[in-house]
Symmetry: C2
Subunit: 97 residues, 2 copies
Amino acid sequence: MDKDEILKALSHPTRLEILNWLKNPQDHFSSQEHPLEMGVCASQFERCGLSQSTVSAHLGTLSRAGLVTTRRVGQWIFYKRNEETIAAFLKQLTQDL
Amino acid sequence: MDKDEILKALSHPTRLEILNWLKNPQDHFSSQEHPLEMGVCASQFERCGLSQSTVSAHLGTLSRAGLVTTRRVGQWIFYKRNEETIAAFLKQLTQDL
DNA sequence: TCCATATATCGAGTAAAGACGATATATGGT
DNA sequence: ACCATATATCGTCTTTACTCGATATATGGA
């Protein structure tokens, strides 16, 4: 759990928005073919208006920071919030900051 | 209280370090001529190894984000943590993130 | 094996952040 | 008025981040 890396990952509105969407996937990704319990697959986030490669880069940043988990199913990769890391980060930040 | 601006301000190790030093000024700035109750004056932070102008820019970023307060006394400007804003930010982040 | 789809990575261009020294501004003292 | 000190701002350079289209990789199906 790298606090600095997480803070950098959180310092971009698009990535905050992605994390926020993932809090209630049913409110934002009901059009997804696959059940939302698996997570939300990458292409869904292109609704933010950015290109596929840019979205992939943001998801990579979130994933490297540990804020989301990924799970490959077939040709898709499903993203979920990593609630454990998020909670641990908030706890540490509340202590340290 | 601009959450995005605060997150950006926190996304640099030097600024985190400054905020951390300000938690216990007596542990880090006992050499200061002025009483620490007034705050810590800008030049004290040059101990991080950065130039005067760079330190000033970091302090400006923290101040604009509302994470520190400033108080001019004579030719010095004293910096203190803004505990109210910090607490409000942590509360909102814990809710929103 | 070949093609379609999903995602990642590459290369290049632009924008933003960080750093510096030099200079400007503000204050206080003589 | 002049000089010294503290801080901010300016101009410039370097580095990092963001974005894109194009290409590579991985999977699945025909």
